[in-house]
């Protein structure tokens, strides 16, 4: 309905024709350069819908770079050049005719440091739906705000103080507010770049539980430095090393019997 032209239709077709779980994102021969630096090398991967895929690997291996390719955030970096193909629901997201603003509504992103707008809790969530013209009335917008906060597991904690500033919440609550903000526009994909690394263990556990419940509705990709977190929240895991996707597979296989020695050395703490 309010998606990139063509995408929603394809999604509807897909739902009736293709058996679950469907492949949501297809990347082929994706290369990224920052000036002379070859940061991402020939990445091929299929990412399934309605599941969590984690990206692991040492710092600087290209996880965030690849994540940013999926919503074309790299477009904002002047020195950055992306080649290859990325499709979401069969649609090439680097297609010249594609509206990048719409794409970013379809592909939400949550960052390491919770970054609520310096506005009220309500406004944080209402901002994007209003921008995308998703509601015709205040009541409808209220509805979207409540549903998003509910899905993000935050409604109960903030429903009596929606007018308070989002930045006044605790770190974990701020991160859930950012997740509510990301899902307010009803995206297909949610990208999370180390969403728990600034949080304490309890706030982390709540986010992990939230990720698990969101999984039924969204394709989620998460970058994490915690192997245990990847093992807990994701169904598939991809290991990156020096700009290469070394190994990708079911999370349980990666953490019990990885095929590549580099994967094994990294996840068992034998690197460097």
């Amino acid at each position: 309905m309010h998606g990139v032209a063509g995408m929603s239709v394809q999604q509807i077709e897909g739902a009736t024709v293709r058996p679950l779980p469907t492949t949501k994102i297809i990347a082929r021969d994706v290369n990224v350069h920052y000036g002379e630096k070859h940061a991402l090398k020939a990445v091929d991967v299929d990412i399934p819908d309605c599941s969590v895929t984690s990206f692991i690997g040492p710092s600087g291996c290209g996880k965030s770079t690849f994540l940013r390719c999926i919503n074309r955030m790299n477009d904002t970096i002047a020195s950055c050049r992306v080649t290859g193909k990325i499709e979401i629901d069969g649609r090439d997201i680097y297609d010249k005719t594609l509206d990048v603003v719409q794409l970013r509504a379809r592909v939400g992103m949550v960052f390491q440091k919770p970054n609520p707008f310096p506005k009220s809790i309500y406004e944080n969530v209402a901002y994007a739906p209003r921008l995308h013209g998703m509601s015709r009335s205040k009541a409808e917008l209220d509805q979207i705000v409540e549903a998003s906060l509910e899905k993000a597991g935050l409604w109960g904690e903030v429903k009596d103080r929606l007018g308070d500033s989002g930045t006044g919440l605790s770190g974990g609550q701020q991160q859930r507010l950012c997740i509510a903000r990301a899902i307010s526009v009803n995206p297909d994909v949610i990208l999370m770049d180390e969403p728990c690394s600034a949080l304490d263990p309890i706030a982390t556990a709540r986010i992990e539980q939230l990720i698990d419940s969101l999984r039924q509705h969204f394709c989620i990709v998460i970058v994490t430095h915690s192997m245990q977190q990847a093992a807990r929240v994701s169904q598939r895991t991809a290991f990156f090393h020096l700009g290469t996707l070394v190994e990708e597979g079911p999370t349980t296989d990666i953490f019990t019997s990885p095929k590549d020695k580099r994967t094994q050395d990294y996840i068992t703490g034998r690197f460097g």
Binding site: T256, P258, T263, Q264, T268, G269, R270
Partner: protein
């Protein structure tokens, strides 16, 4: 293998490994002493074997504690996870082998009044030897992380099963021939059955070594007699 960035993790895994090796060597020595009982019927030695099982039980408890601590502290993954889990299971099998050897020693002690070696003892000796060979192979497979040797243990368990079956028939024949043989032969029968079980535990351990090394499980069906 490459060292862990945290060297104390390597030390913990090494000490778990050493504990399993110590336990396996004790079990093998117990079995070897117990095999000697067949000929010597030395009550002192039998007593020592029976008492010696305590130390093996203690080792198992120690391995379990250490493995649990390692899991809690390190949250091991991949080869490390497989090693810690396999180690736990191997210690359980070794402890069971220890119990079975102790039981055999008790049976030997109980029948030591018998003045002469009854028929069938020679075959039991052979069974003892086969089991000893399997235990040695199992130890080496673990120590060297040798999947080939682990598979050999797994494949050769059938030899013990076959020998046990034929010994069973033989002993039954002796018992029917002369009822005075029944008491002693019954002990031998149970000993043979225990040895067959020891073989099964050695096979379990071989399966754990295979899992540890390859991350795969052995096929369900193993050659059976």
């Amino acid at each position: 293998m490459t060292q862990h960035t945290v060297s104390s993790f390597d030390e913990e895994l090494k000490s778990l490994d050493d504990m399993v090796m110590t336990m396996a060597r004790s079990v093998i020595r117990q079995h070897s002493d117990c095999s000697d009982l067949l000929a010597s019927r030395d009550a002192t030695l039998a007593g020592r074997i029976i008492d010696g099982d305590r130390a093996i039980d203690d080792l198992q408890v120690g391995i379990e504690e250490k493995a649990i601590q390692t899991i809690a502290k390190r949250q091991p993954l991949a080869i490390d996870l497989r090693t810690v889990i396999a180690t736990l299971k191997i210690a359980t099998d070794l402890e069971r082998i220890g119990d079975l050897v102790k039981n055999n020693a008790k049976r030997m002690l109980a029948s030591s009044a018998q003045s002469q070696l009854p028929p069938g003892a020679a075959n039991l000796e052979m069974l003892n030897e086969r089991v000893a060979e399997q235990l040695d192979r199992m130890l080496e497979a673990f120590e060297q992380r040798d999947d080939g040797l682990a598979k050999e243990v797994w494949m050769r368990d059938i030899e013990i099963d076959t020998l046990q079956t034929s010994l069973f028939r033989e002993l039954l024949t002796y018992m029917m021939e002369d009822p005075r043989n029944i008491g002693y032969c019954t002990h031998l029968l149970f000993c043979a059955r225990n040895l067959e079980r020891i073989g099964d535990h050695a096979t379990n351990i071989a399966e754990q070594v295979h899992y540890m090394v390859t991350g795969a499980t052995m096929p369900i069906d193993r050659p059976k007699g």
